[in-house]
Every structure is written in structure tokens, then in C-alpha cells.
Symmetry: C2
Subunit: 428 residues, 2 copies
């Protein structure tokens, strides 16, 4: 079957899926969880095939770890589905109810987006999380996982698809894409696909954004900042910078540039160098004024625009909080930026004026994550200011429609002034 036919099937199924009841979708989720428990052996066999192939092709250990889908990960997935069942159904939630005129009632009702295309990395657990999140929110989905995980993904897809069908979900709501050509073909299918969520490298996400008419949710860069204000607890600042840089340097919410107020630089920078460079092996690249205080490599203009995704930190001394905010709004990627200060007023200026999805005060940038935010599973992090922003959970998978229920009303008498709208807001 070609990708266009698959997308068409997903679209038709998504329309049926949108009018299934909460109970029906939850029953299907329970069936999927059950099937994942029963099919442990066949999942293991599929995963072994992927792991063997990966090992013999010399895949690096961290990637092998991500690829592994063992009992512990399977049980985590089942737990995740069970907690998804207990979450309030987002479908059909009424946001607004207005009487336009007696007998003419308008409601704004939550509905699924439709068909979502998601391209994700090599973790097979991502397939389970994303597909069940789609099902709960009533969306059809086209999934493309990492090719290293193809046997595991295929097996998981079959289990999920069959369990959902046998529980009465419309056939075709979930589709598995298996080649790169499928991804290119998907970009053309704006007639069938409403949203793309690419997860992966900057270049990949930017390629997707530049080559499709379909809306794209996600982020290309994660150039995050921590700003060290002049009034602060230095120990707290050191902990936050260390965690933001070192707890997991390869991810989008790790700090890349440190901004330091000039009045605190002499006190803070030597301790920071001790902790990050000497303690954790972080390479420091400082502006001229930084290099005058501590030993480090000189930073260039390009350093302010770079997402290292590595144990490298750019450092710049600023004259004021305003200069820090201007720097962040100019060079940042609108992802996550933090201030460390004991001055509440300064913190509020920062939180309100930095134009980023996540703005933090006195805590690590690494908290920018759907699970940590309490959103449940996360489909991605968006740096767009339209639709969902920041970590995206179930909410970001929803659209809405306007339903108007009348009793024969026409516009003409309102247009010529014989009738007047009442516009009474009603209880939900």
C-alpha cells in the first residue's frame, strides 16, 4: 500500500474516530495494554532482531540503550496507557456556550485535529506513547520511527492496531511508515494530514518545516540561557548552572549560554569555572570581559547562536538585566531561559519580557519537559507561538469547532435591524 492510500485511510478513520465515545476509546486503550502484556515474547523476539543488527553494525552504547525494549520499558508503557485511560476525555469538552438569540445557541466544542504525522527517534517506547496519545485524543496517526527499531516498531504497530480494531476502533486510524521515501511523500499530503510533529536533529526539523505546506509543531534549535543577576545566592546559582549544563548535555533544554551581571562576575565566575570546567570537564568560551576574569577560550559572535548539545558553555558578561533580556530575545530560540536572582522584581521583569515558551526563575532549564510539567506523555516541545507552546501533551492534540443549533433563523432580519442578537453567555 502506498503512503497516499495509507494517509487517505487514516483520514477516513479519523472522522469515525472523532465520534467514538470516551468509553469506546478507553476500552481500546485497555485492550492495547492487555495485548502488550500478552505479547511479551513476540516483542522480545522482534527487539532482539533489531539489537543484533544494531550491534553488528557497531551502533554506540547509548543508542543501543535507547533501542532496547525490555520488560521494564514494556511495563512502563502499559502503566502509561493505564494512566491515560484515567485522564478526563478532552473530546467534546465545551469551552463556551452563547445564546445568540432565543432558540439559537452557539457552542465551542473540543474536537481532534484529525490526522497527525509524527516522525520520532529510535526509542520504540515512543511509538506506544504517541499512538495511544493519538487514540485518546481521537486523532488518526502516521508514525515513522527510527529504522534501527524497525522490527520492534512493526511488531508494536501490529499489536496496537489489532487490539484497537478488535475493540471496535475504525481500521486504519494508525499507519506505520517504514522508509525515508515515505517521509518525503508524506510532506506532499496536505490534503490528508493536518499536522506534522518531527522530532530529531535541528537540520531534520528545519528540512521538514521548509518542505511542506502542512503545519509543523516542534522546535529546530534549543539555545537556552541562564542569566545570573547581581543579587543572588551564589551556591544556588552554581547548582542551577551545573544541572542545566551537565545533567544531560545532549538535549534541547540544556543551557548553552550563560549571561552574568557585571557586578557579580568576579565573585561568581571563578567558582563557576571550578565547578563546571574542573569538576565536570565543561569547555568554557567567554566574551572578552569573561576572559579577563577566568581562564577560558575566547567566544566568537557565532557562539551566541550555537546549540552545542555538548559539554560546552558560552559565557557573556552583561551590564544590566535589560541587556541580558535583549541578548536572549535576539540570539535565543524561544525555547527555555532562566534567571537566578533573589530580587523578585527583577525576576518578574524577566518572566514577562523574555519571549520564550518556558521562562524560569531560580531553577534548572532541564525542568522544561512534559512529564516534569505534569502534562503526562509529551508529543514534543513547540517553539511556535501559535497553537501549543512549550512541552505539548494531550491538549496540543486538540482543535475545536463551533456548533450552532437553531430553529430556522436567517441572517436577513438581523442584518436589516428587525432583530437584535442577545449574546448571552451561558453556563458550561
Amino acid at each position: 500500500m502506498d503512503i497516499k492510500t495509507e494517509a487517505e485511510q487514516a483520514r477516513l478513520a479519523s472522522i469515525k474516530l472523532a465520534s467514538t465515545s470516551t468509553e469506546e476509546r478507553n476500552r481500546a486503550l485497555i485492550a492495547i495494554a492487555g495485548a502488550l502484556k500478552e505479547e511479551a515474547a513476540s516483542i522480545d523476539a522482534a527487539n532482539k532482531a533489531d539489537l543484533d543488527a544494531a550491534e553488528s553494525s557497531g551502533l554506540a552504547t547509548p543508542l543501543l540503550k535507547r533501542l532496547k525494549f525490555d520488560d521494564a520499558k514494556r511495563i512502563d508503557c502499559v502503566d502509561g496507557i493505564e494512566s491515560l485511560v484515567s485522564i478526563t476525555d478532552p473530546l467534546g469538552v465545551v469551552h463556551k456556550r452563547t445564546e445568540l438569540y432565543p432558540g439559537l445557541e452557539l457552542t465551542r466544542v473540543a474536537c481532534p485535529i484529525g490526522v497527525v504525522g509524527i516522525i520520532f527517534e529510535s526509542r520504540p517506547d515512543a511509538l506506544v506513547q504517541i499512538s495511544t496519545l493519538s487514540l485518546k485524543s481521537g486523532n488518526g496517526c502516521l508514525l515513522k520511527g527510527g529504522s534501527e527499531a524497525r522490527h520492534t516498531n512493526r511488531r508494536l504497530f501490529e499489536i496496537i492496531s489489532e487490539a484497537a480494531s478488535s475493540a471496535g476502533m475504525p481500521d486504519g486510524w494508525i499507519q506505520l511508515l517504514e522508509t525515508r521515501d515515505d517521509v518525503s511523500a508524506m510532506l506532499e499530503l496536505d490534503e490528508y494530514i493536518d499536522l506534522l510533529i518531527p522530532r530529531g536533529s535541528n537540520e531534520f526539523v528545519r528540512y521538514i518545516m521548509d518542505n511542506t505546506r502542512i503545519s509543523v509543531m516542534g522546535h529546530a534549535d534549543g539555545i537556552c540561557h541562564v542569566y545570573i543577576d547581581k543579587e543572588l545566592n551564589i551556591d544556588m546559582a552554581l547548582n542551577i548552572v551545573e544541572d542545566s549544563k551537565c545533567q544531560y548535555p545532549a538535549v534541547c533544554n540544556a543551557v548553552e549560554t550563560l549571561l552574568v551581571h557585571k557586578d557579580i562576575a568576579k565573585d561568581f565566575l571563578p567558582d563557576m569555572r571550578k565547578r563546571l570546567h574542573m569538576g565536570r570537564g565543561v569547555e568554557l568560551r567567554g566574551c572578552e570581559r569573561t576572559c579577563a576574569i577566568i581562564e577560558c577560550l575566547p567566544a566568537e559572535e557565532s557562539d551566541w547562536k550555537e546549540e552545542y548539545l555538548d559539554t560546552i558553555l558560552a559565557i557573556k558578561i552583561v551590564d544590566s538585566i535589560e541587556e541580558a533580556i535583549t541578548h536572549i530575545n535576539r540570539y535565543g530560540s524561544g525555547h527555555t531561559d532562566a534567571i537566578v536572582t533573589s530580587n523578585e522584581k527583577a525576576a518578574e521583569v524577566f518572566l514577562n519580557t523574555v519571549d520564550s515558551a518556558d521562562v524560569f526563575w531560580n531553577c534548572s532549564t532541564r525542568f522544561a519537559d512534559g512529564f516534569r510539567f505534569g502534562l503526562g506523555a509529551e508529543v514534543g516541545i513547540s517553539t511556535s507561538k501559535l497553537h501549543a507552546r512549550g512541552p505539548v501533551g494531550l491538549d496540543g492534540m486538540m482543535s475545536y469547532k463551533w456548533q450552532l443549533r437553531g430553529s430556522g433563523q436567517t441572517v436577513a432580519p438581523f442584518a436589516d435591524g428587525h432583530m437584535k442578537f442577545t449574546h448571552v453567555e451561558k453556563d458550561l
Copy 2:
């Protein structure tokens, strides 16, 4: 000043605008309303220059009417601004407040989108409405109006810009574009502009959508349907079809295709022909089965995809409500579709399964409009399923950000299991 510099100024001003208080923005709106009252003479003079030029170039009467900005329209604008002042400030509204851990509180807060580029038709009142809606919602705006209205637009822009500045708003939040080249240049400025709202012909909107990386809110086509179910009040159906087609045929929410259940076709179609064709001069284009019942032109496949924007109506007989819904989801533009039926169950199936921004039961498609919906002024109608859908008012001009206020927390102890998130939802 070139458009890039203007956009850059708007971006810088928008960041300041985002942290102005409700009182400050309302004071500026009141100043603008006052200036519009005082400047009646200079506005009249500018409008006269446009009207004279338009008349001598032979502009059609309906367009001249739209171009005219007389005392009545000016007073309407002032009234609109005054009602905008009284609307609850959308900025800073907290949607969600979660304790992630004692001393670590997350809030999701409404904030402006940033800088919005709006291209609108020849009515000068649109400039006043859009710019004041932008100001209320804290957004910078780049405005391009119809060139026929250039003197009036320039005068209105000067009045609004000066009144806002003198009331303390940051200079540059509003910018006026005056040439077509400016529009082309604007499409490249994704670094400064967050959203484009083009209003105009299908071709124009589609051109914008296809030629920019900036998000576009709006609609290209408005192929709206009325479906006449088998159980219904025929008089009501005739009124609704007549209003949907004839009350204002040149607009996006007028009906283009009529779908009729086969069981009612023989009763309904002859009366419909009498009312619409003989009574109102509507050209009817029917499917084969329609042509067997009433005298009309034969419809072709292309008729189901056409937005006539004229007194032409395509008619198709369908075997079931399911066929009607499938036709609408296939050929429609996701704008506005209505069912006429006395069967509530059929109505609910239609309202839930038709995948359009506006789905109506027993009323005219012409109700699809921000003012009629009670949203206040409208910046446009969106057929996208992301962000705002259907008529877009103040709500659609808002984004949100996540603010996290901590007391030194780092991720490491949560990642290694020493600390556990509490995720307590708090009152707003």
C-alpha cells in the same frame, strides 16, 4: 524607512507592549477614540481625496461605499474602541497553575503572539478595528490596506500612532505598509513577524500561504453546504437556503452547494426552484437526478469544488446523510456547513462528523461571523485546525508561555529518584 526596519521596530515595541498594564493599554485606547472624535475634519479631507480618485478612475458603486469613511462609520469605530476598553484584558490570564514540588510552581499564562502582519481590503474602518484589537491584546502590528484607501489609511494610522504614543505606548508598535512590494518583502521577515492574516481573494490568500515561512491564519476557499435531510419543515428549509445563498452572495459564508436527501427531493426541489431561481434569479446547476426533477443546468464535477461568490447554486441529490457528510468532507473547504432536519439524532451526527470550523443545525450559513458569534471585532475566519478556528476575535491574537518559579531546584535528584514530583493542581 524600509519594511525590514519597520518590522524590527514593531518587534522591539511588541516586547515592551507585552508588559504594559491593562490600565496603560486601555488609557491608550481611550486616547485613540478621543483623537478620532477630534480629527473628524482631517479624516474627512483624506477620505475625500480617496473618493475623488476612486470616482474618477471609475470604481464600482459597492466599492465606493466600502471606501467611504463618513461620520457614521467614524462613530461606529469610536463605539467599537469604547467597548474594547470594557472587555476583560486577555493578557496575563493564568490558565493553569501546578505545584511541581513544594517551592516549585508552574503557571501557564496568556501572552501576546508578538507581531502580526495583516493585509486587509479597502474598508478604512478595518484599519481602526484591527489596530485597536492588536493594541488591546498587546501585539505589534504591520498593516497593509487597499491602495484605494491610502490617504484615509495614512491619516488614520497617524492619528492612532500619535494618540497611542502620547498615552505612553512604545513607539513603533504599529506600522503602515503602503505598496505591494512591501507585502512581498513582509513574507520574508519570519524573524520579526509571528503571524500573517491575509484577507482577500482566494488566489491572494493562497499566494501568501505558499510563499512564506510565517504562520498564516485565514481561509482561501469558502465552499459551504446546506444539506436538506428527509425529515424536515420545508418552509424552514426554503428560508434557510434563500438566506444562505441570497442575503449576501459574494461572501465566504454564503452557500455554494445544496445537498438534498432523495426521499424529499421531489417535494423540495420544485419549491426551491420557485423561490431561488424564479424569485431571486439564482442560476441552478443540478446533478443528473436533480435535472430529472426540475429544470436547471447540468452540474459538472468541477461545480462541487467551486466557490461561485455569485447567485449560482450547485445541487446534488444524495441517498443518505452519510453520503452528504462524505461529500462535504471531500469537496468542502472546512468553513461552514449546515443541516436542515427535524431529526435531532441526524443533526448531532452531522454536527459531530462534518469536519468544518462551523457546523450548523437549522439556521443560515451566514451566521458564521465574529460579530454575530458575539466575539466582538473579527480579525478573520480561519479554516486551519491549529490555533484559532472559525471566526477569530481577541482570543486568536493570544499565545501563552510557561513560567516556572523555583527556589533553587535542579533536575538531578528527580532524575535519580531521590525526589518525586507532587504535581498538585492549584486554584487559579
